[in-house]
Amino acid sequence: MSGVQTSAPGSPVARRGRLTYLGGRIAEYVVVLLVALTLNFLLPRALPGGPLKLFGSPEALARLTAEERAQIATEYGFGDPIWVQFLDYLKSVVTLDLGTSLSDGREVTAAIWDALPWTLLLVGTSIVFTTLIGIALGVIGGLRRREGKGAFTLIGAIVVDSIPQFWLAMLLIVWFGVKWQIAPTFGATGPDGVTITGLAQHLAMPVATLTITGIGYIFMYTRSSMLNVLTSEPVQHAHARGIPRGRLVRRHVLRPALLPVHTLIMLDIGFLAAGAIVVETVFAYPGLGRLTFGAIAARDYPLMQGTFLVLTLMVVLMNLLADLTYPLLDPRARTGASER
């Protein structure tokens, strides 16, 4: 990605250091994060009704007298200039003091802290399955492109990729939950608290839903990356040098083919927490997604701001992580071209 203009050996190229480059990337992320924070800050102020709605339903607000409104406004600083408010908001973000939920009076930070492990458990487990199965099938699909099976798997992947999550979740509930009663249909733990089996049982259907609907994408991406690498010059030339097929695939195809997949999966992890909203809602799983959806439905602004903050942070962090880990896998990103 570094520049359109390639330089010939010996040409007067001033190459800035790798560290400076990384610094630039991180600075970019900080900017993106700041903009996202600003949006988050503006959100309740931009939505219909003005900032006072932070304090309850429209009906409740209507009952407030003018003095009461003015009092709240001074107390919470709505009378201050907007930049003072913004600085206050930034301060609250940094100190993790995100206010209290309007619906149940809990600390927003505490509510998020309770929900986060569940989401991480759910998302983490399904990412592992999705990645393993998706990549394995994608590699096979890429290697067997010409054979009938390859095409069949591709169609399968397209179908799986097209099923709406919530519908699949319903089907699973019908079969495994109601008909055969193998797996519990809601919640994260059984009546006897946190046990390994209980956790696993409650994870089964949500994870299955996320995994099945997630495989198709990773499969197709891996497959097309495999095909690109298989037809690339280094692989064709390695073949011409007499490297047998098995070794060729293991040593010369897999790693370059999985480089872009690595980035894709990292970004995916960032989004899955948000993407788990539907699954967590259908299975009443007490994670971040359900918390977010509940907050929106109840118009609970402090909680909304808090959950949005976490969801965005996760995406930005995974982006950054993807950027930072890529050079570990690809020497071309690690070491610059020589000056010779």
Binding site: Q5, S7, P234, G242, D330, P331
Partner: protein, 571 residues
């Protein structure tokens, strides 16, 4: 005898790419298979390595002999394990972009050594190809093109093969490096088959030359015999069509272009382009026969010395007043991680009727300079004047009007013509853009087509139906149609076959004389510049290192770099 190829034929569907070829490579001998694109040389090399695509049918025998292994018939081979890498070492086309990007050089060499049971050490292999142990720990992207090509050769040496097949080992390398790589291959002492389009480039390094034309062998000749007398008119044509750096040697071109594989002519396939062909040539295909100590497939081999090809003309008059004046040009490209200075204080002037050669290797800034002249790039510093007009300050409509007074012939004949437009529309495009009245267009298109040396029939064709040379002529016609004052030809013939290059140069000279055009001719080939230009500017790293009349540059180069380029153009 290491390799003996008998009766090898390769077909793709109904198209015959290699037609009953016989060829031998002696022990330690370097044989070069030479020909232009589509002659079947690459198919032959790939057939010998078992690397043809699935839709190809191969027949014939290829026996590989050696004192260390039993004889092997490549034609009957089904399982290539243990053959490629151990018995045949292959340096594929574009080898320098074919190294594994994620492994260090040492790991790649070691892999080949263990795989093919080689007994050397990676460092020894590098030493054999003229690299040092320092390069062991490099990744390919940290090496220069020449170094990568050497590593690719080292990789094939790991298995100590009996035969080395190198497919176009010099493409993509700068002229100076090309010779070094060929010298290296020739010095290895292994029986070698080199496939190349560059006949003269190989002369110093090959023992025997096999010239192919349209799928058949035209001639197999020892190099020393080639120096003494020429036997096949096509070989003679190829030699004459390679521009010499000596102004005294004329440069010629072979008219026409090679036949497509699905429309091969009866009789001798070269007959339609041959200056000495007779009736017999058009009727019966000549077989390879012994003439002197070479094998020639020509009915007229005895009188082939008479074959003469049209020469590229020289300037007839002095050049007129300046058309393009560029002074104090500096240009830098900036991107996220680096700043590149492409041009650093360059002054260039071209007059009416003059052809200026802009010579340099990749990265010299010559393409940037050409694009600045065309108004495609605004220089960081400096001024460009076209006629009486200042171009550097012009923007928008004003700039576009100035651009209509220049013509541009792009390097790539396959991409520079819109694939869905007919030739008539392609050539007329500048007129449409310049809003020339509709009723004037047809005449000007016809005139431009004639100037570019194209027949009227091509008007109704699309670029896909034309040969590379024809396409480049369409480009020239398009550049001429709006009666420009300046023509910029950016490596206009570099992607064309040798035999047609002179034709393009002839056309450019003709239009420079007839229309009083100023021409900027960008090229990396010193010989071509000396033969076709009036004056030459040599660029290196964005600076002018040498400038002057062609004859002066050719006979007494002022700068050491110019001398190097001249020496690298070796003919």
């Amino acid at each position: 005898m290491t390799l003996s190829v008998q009766d090898v034929t390769v077909r793709y569907g109904g198209r015959l790419a290699v037609d009953h070829v016989h060829l031998e490579v002696g022990d330690g001998e370097v044989v070069a298979v030479v020909g232009e694109s589509g002659c079947g040389k690459t198919s032959l090399a790939r057939a010998l390595g078992g690397l043809l695509p699935e839709n190809a049918e191969v027949s014939g025998r290829g026996v590989l002999r050696s004192d260390r292994h039993p004889d092997l018939d490549l034609g009957a081979l089904r399982d290539w394990r243990g053959v490629r890498g151990r018995r045949i070492g292959i340096v594929p086309q574009g080898a320098m972009s074919g190294l594994s990007p994620i492994h260090r050089v040492e790991a790649q060499l070691r892999e080949m050594l263990t795989l093919h049971g080689g007994s050397s050490e990676p460092a020894q292999l590098l030493e054999r190809v003229g690299l040092t142990a320092r390069e062991l720990h490099s990744f390919p992207h940290q090496l220069s093109g020449g170094q990568r090509q050497r590593v690719a050769i080292a990789l094939t040496l790991a298995g100590e093969p009996d035969l080395l097949i190198a497919d176009e080992p010099t493409t993509g390398l700068d002229a100076v490096v090309q010779g070094k790589v060929l010298a290296l291959i020739a010095s290895l002492g292994i029986s070698t088959l080199i496939v190349s389009h560059d006949l003269t480039g190989l002369l110093p390094y090959a023992d025997r030359i096999a010239v192919m034309y349209a799928g058949r062998l035209a001639e197999v000749v020892p190099v020393d015999a080639l120096h003494r007398g020429r036997h096949h008119p096509y070989t003679a044509g190829l030699l004459a069509a390679t521009p010499s750096t000596d102004r005294a040697v004329t440069w010629a071109s072979i008219p026409g272009s090679a036949p497509p594989l699905d429309a091969l002519p009866e009789g001798c396939r070269f007959a339609p382009r041959c200056p000495i062909a007779v009736e017999e040539c058009r009727e019966t295909a000549p077989r390879l026969r012994l003439v002197g100590n070479s094998e020639v497939a020509c009915h007229r081999a005895e009188v082939a010395g008479d074959a003469s090809y049209p020469a590229v003309p020289r300037a007839t008059s002095e050049c007129g007043k300046p058309v393009l004046t560029m002074t104090g040009l500096r240009h830098t490209y900036r991107s996220r991680s680096r700043t590149t200075t492409a041009l650093d204080g360059v002054d260039v002037e071209v007059g009416r009727g003059e052809i200026l050669g802009l010579v340099g290797e990749s990265g010299s800034g010559k393409s940037t300079l050409a694009r600045i002249a065309l108004g495609l790039i605004r220089p960081t510093e400096g001024t460009v004047r076209l006629g009486d007009y200042e171009m550097t300050g012009a923007r928008g409509r004003r700039l576009r009007e100035l651009q209509r007074r220049t013509g541009f012939v792009h390097q790539d004949p396959y991409d520079s013509l819109h694939p869905a437009m007919k030739v008539s529309a392609l050539v007329a495009e500048p007129l449409v853009i310049a809003k020339v009245p509709r009723n004037e267009r047809a005449d000007r298109v016809h005139a431009a087509l004639a100037s570019a040396g194209l027949p009227e029939e091509v008007l109704t064709r699309t670029p896909g139906q034309l040969s590379g040379g024809q396409r480049q002529r369409v480009s020239i016609a398009r550049a001429l149609v709006n009666d420009p004052e300046l023509l910029v030809a950016d490596e206009a013939s570099s992607m064309l076959d040798v035999s047609t290059r002179g034709g393009i140069a002839t056309t450019l000279r003709k239009v420079a004389i007839e229309r009083g055009l100023a021409v900027v001719f960008v090229t990396h080939d010193m010989g071509e510049a000396i033969q076709s230009c009036d004056r030459i500017v040599v660029l290196r790293h964005g600076r002018v290192v040498d400038a002057g009349a062609c004859s002066r540059i050719s006979s007494s180069p002022e700068h050491e770099y110019t001398a190097q380029l001249l020496a690298a153009s070796h003919h």
